[in-house]
């Protein structure tokens, strides 16, 4: 297993680029790189938006239409040109513009099919509803639910990418056996037990855990970096996400 950090590349050179900064720099969906970057971001973070729309009272069907319609509007209505380039984080940008969009849409007739039937981002409607059903029912504010869901989605994405990384080296079993060490400090027994389960020496388990944590930290940093305008903002955004969990 290698501990190299391919993602370091993004921090090299004078102008570090994050996906979101690429989108902001172009501010024009005709730019192919920006369009691809925006598309990737929307795919990664559509669920918190869906959750927000549902919590605001939309039916599952309307929520799907509104989310899709919103993604179309993002490009068509020029929301991207409105963002404060210096300070706009993807998370706050999406929520603010979604609110504008919903206000506009609710002013229009409710029977109109939203989003002009466009399907820009693949939303698995049945799966979305199933997932929404698991959201806590007692969360009062849609805003708070959106932020919390954002943080959870981010963690989901990081763990999925991390597992795929191990899987590509045929090491899913190792990942599944070790992932519990990502969340908490563990007593010596945990390492011994895991070593027995995985048929490894305890020292080897410790080294593997050390590397897993490093890769997790790097991936988390990169995923967060993709949603802010500069890598310098990563620590502050991480702190905010953490405060949402408390």
């Amino acid at each position: 297993m290698s501990d190299t950090e391919p993602s370091q590349a993004r921090f090299q050179g004078q102008f570090p680029q994050t996906r979101w900064s690429v989108v902001l720099a172009a501010r024009d969906a005709k730019d192919q790189m920006a369009a691809t970057a925006l598309d990737e971001l929307c795919r990664a973070y559509w669920f918190p938006l869906y959750v927000y729309v549902r919590r605001r009272g939309a039916s599952p069907e309307d929520a799907e239409d509104l989310t899709q319609g919103y993604f179309a509007a993002l490009i068509e209505r020029g929301y991207l040109t409105q963002v404060d380039r210096e300070r706009g984080k993807l998370r706050s940008f999406l929520l603010t513009t979604l609110k504008h969009y919903l206000a506009d849409e609710w002013d229009k007739t409710r029977t109109l099919k939203r989003g002009h039937g466009q399907r820009l981002v693949s939303i698995d409607a049945a799966n979305a509803e199933e997932r929404y059903a698991m959201e806590p029912a007692d969360e009062a504010s849609p805003d708070r639910l959106f932020d919390r869901r954002w943080a959870l989605t981010l963690l989901d994405n990081v763990l999925t990418a991390l597992r795929a990384d191990y899987a590509s080296a045929g090491q899913e079993r190792l990942f599944d056996g070790l992932k519990k060490f990502l969340a908490w400090n563990s007593a010596s027994e945990a390492y011994r037990e895991t070593a027995a389960e995985l048929g490894m020496k305890e020292n080897a388990v410790r080294v593997a855990v050390f590397r897993l944590r490093r890769r997790y930290g790097n991936l988390l940093r990169d995923q967060v970096a993709d949603t802010v305008t500069s890598p310098d903002e990563v620590p502050a955004e991480l702190e905010q996400l953490l405060s949402l969990m408390r």
Partner: protein, 655 residues
């Protein structure tokens, strides 16, 4: 965590934090714990590319299960040093970690093992002991003796040392180097950063042979041109720089550079003046010793470290003090000064403040302490409040106490104390004969009326209100490095980092937590107390009616803190300022536009921060026009009525 979520904790709860797990928790793991750990890891990971990013202590722990990794003490281009405890052997150690690429180099590891085995045989009180070495994952590491003190580079950053201290240090270095040279071990990278001074005044030489180790082309006998560039050129002998065969006399040369730098605060480069021409008090006979050590031709230098020591002793013969006495004197001068800079608190102000050194072992001393013990000083400017007899005069420190009935203390450059203001409890009756004072403190809070002074010998004097025993320090209290005074209680920090409290026995501010880790600074408000641990964490205890003891979780890597009557400020390593506690005058509303700060001050219900540009920002109840003093502020002392400012001395000022 809220009580509610605790109550609903069931089988589906996080084993670590007790929060209930959402049904859709990412990877089935507790999202809060996952993110919390991730934030520590990812924040660390966001350093610049190419740098060696040392693992965080909690991250490293998994590779070193036999140690408790306490903190990261420092990092350089080629290594990171951690403080750790080895519980089985009941000892504190330093673990030095080399970056991963070195351990991937088989040739390097071969050399590493060979060198380390040699170093492990060096056994001398003046050489940092090597206990163990090896490799964990991709890290080669050394386990070494932990030295609690400062390094000489930190010390020299403050200016030249007194000649007796410099001679004492060189004498100890000669002994250590003679020991290693007799065993065929050349240091090769002798420089102030590798010279540690322990709190007892013992000098310890670190990083023996590491220069050769990290230079891939270094042969058995010397260095190649390629290798030489990796060293520290300013301290390198010409033959070392030129890459020709070098012997133990490269250490003689480097020692000459270090001695010259200690005496003059300059490096002997180009056509440099002999020390006695720069410092008239020095004897010209000393010049001969320094110049001979610095000779470009190794043959014309001293042949051995013993010879250096003897010549030095002949040149500067100082009868009188024995070796242990000289060592104690060194320790007293260095650590009284360095810890003085760490005294933090509303009731006390200390010498020129400075950010904690990256090494974290002690706060960097900021002013040269000469033999005559003239303290650094600046002009005192007074805002609001009572008439102050030393306004516009030069003072070294000031303190304000009391509430509406305010009183003040000033530490004068000659080590004596002046007091003014309310005297109903004798709080301005400075004891006759009080001399050699290096720090002062005045009680915080409306009912306070006592004062404390710390002498250079580590003892404490107290006067004023003693109704609750707050005015008179406990019998036998010595070895004190810092003092602060609350409303009805007092605290002292010893040089070992222990916090001692006295005063009103029923006050919770007196109840120093049992498991308080060793502290490097203390502070007190009216009825609460704060301690800053060596690894930058803040512990608070006392009355908590205004949340003044609820230290926010973000108070990590704290380098300095300050307490007002009922609130506190902490300065983080990244220059961020956080505040907590009473907010009646918005003293906790840190301005959103505050630039990264270099120091924080608090008093009464007011707060202030100094930024790198020298600008002062104030918020809360502060009767002072901050903007006028940009670049001139050395210290701010905040009372409940008066604020005092000490101006920075001009750069050329000599006291």
């Amino acid at each position: 965590m809220s009580e509610q979520s605790k109550a609903t904790t069931t089988a589906n709860a996080c084993a670590a934090c007790g929060r209930s797990l959402p049904t859709n928790a990412p990877g089935g793991l507790c999202p809060a714990c996952l993110l919390e750990r991730g934030v520590a890891l990812a924040t660390r990971a966001s350093a610049r590319p190419g740098d060696f990013v040392p693992p965080a202590p909690e991250e490293l722990a998994v590779l070193f299960p036999e140690f408790e990794i306490v903190s990261l003490l420092g990092r350089g281009g080629i290594s990171a040093v951690y403080k750790a405890v080895q519980p089985d052997l009941d000892r504190t150690v330093a673990i030095k970690l080399l970056p991963p690429e070195t351990a991937r180099d088989a040739e390097f590891m071969e050399r590493f093992r060979r060198e380390a085995a040699t170093l492990a045989r060096l056994d001398h009180p003046g050489i940092v002991r090597l206990y163990d070495f090896g490799q964990r994952d991709d890290f080669a590491y050394f386990v070494m003796e932990f030295v609690d003190g400062v390094d000489l580079a930190q010390q020299l950053a403050a200016g030249p040392m007194s000649p007796p201290d410099a001679f004492e240090i060189v004498g100890q270095l000669c002994d250590a180097l003679q020991h290693s040279h007799e065993r065929g071990v050349i240091h090769r990278d002798l420089k102030p950063a590798n010279i540690l001074i322990a709190r007892d005044g013992r000098v310890k030489l670190a990083d023996f042979g590491l220069a050769r180790l990290t230079q891939p082309d270094a042969g058995e006998m010397g260095l190649t041109r390629t290798g030489a560039r990796l060293g520290t050129p300013r301290y390198m002998a010409p033959e070392q720089l030129n890459g020709v065969t070098a012997d133990h006399r490269v250490d003689v040369y480097a020692l000459g550079v270090v001695l010259y730098e200690m005496l003059t605060a300059q490096l002997p480069v180009g056509h440099f003046d002999p020390p006695s021409e720069k410092i008239p008090a020095l004897t010209p006979r000393l010049d001969e010793v320094v110049l001979r050590a610095l000779n470009a031709e190794p043959e014309r230098r001293f042949a051995s470290m013993i010879e250096v020591k003897e010549r030095l002793r002949d040149a500067v013969a100082r009868p009188g003090l024995t070796r242990p006495e000289r060592r104690q004197q060194l320790a007293r001068r260095l650590f009284a000064a360095s810890l003085l800079a760490a005294i933090i608190g509303a009731g006390a102000v200390w010498l020129w403040s400075s950010r904690d050194a990256s090494h974290g072992q002690a706060t960097q001393p900021t002013g040269p302490i000469t033999e005559r013990a003239t303290l650094p000083s600046g002009r005192l400017i007074v805002f609001g409040g009572a008439t102050c007899p030393v306004a516009n005069e030069r003072v070294s420190a000031v303190a304000l106490g009391g509430g509406l009935n305010e009183f003040g203390l000033a530490l004068l450059p000659d080590g004596t104390v002046r007091a003014w203001g309310d005297n109903r409890f004798g709080q301005t009756n400075v004891p006759a004969g009080l001399r050699e004072v290096i720090a002062i403190a005045a009680g915080q809070g409306a009912k306070s009326a006592h004062a404390l002074a710390l002498r250079a010998d580590g003892t404490v004097a107290g006067w004023g209100d003693n109704t609750f025993g707050q005015g008179v320090p406990p019998m036998g209290l010595t070895n004190v490095a810092a003092i602060v005074a609350g409303e009805l209680h007092s605290l002292a920090l010893t040089r070992e980092g222990r916090v001692v409290a006295w005063g009103n026995g029923t006050s919770p501010a007196l109840a120093v937590p049992k498991n308080l880790p060793p502290a490097k600074a203390i502070a007190t408000g009216a009825d609460f107390s704060l301690a800053l641990s060596m690894d930058g964490r803040v512990t608070a205890w006392g009355v908590n009616e205004r949340g003044q003891c609820d230290v926010p979780p973000s108070a990590q890597s704290v380098v300095q803190f300050a307490a007002g009557s009922h609130h506190a400020l902490a300065l983080l390593a990244d220059g961020k300022v956080i505040a907590w506690g009473g907010n009646s005058s918005q003293q906790c509303d840190v301005p959103a536009t505050l630039p990264p700060a270099t120091a924080v001050f608090a008093g009464g219900d007011g707060s202030a921060a100094l930024d790198a540009s020298g600008a002062l920002r104030v918020w809360g109840k502060v009767p002072m026009p901050a903007a006028e003093f940009k670049g001139r502020v050395a210290q701010v002392v905040a009372g409940s009525q008066t604020w005092l400012m000490i101006e920075k001395p001009a750069a050329t000022a000599v006291h």
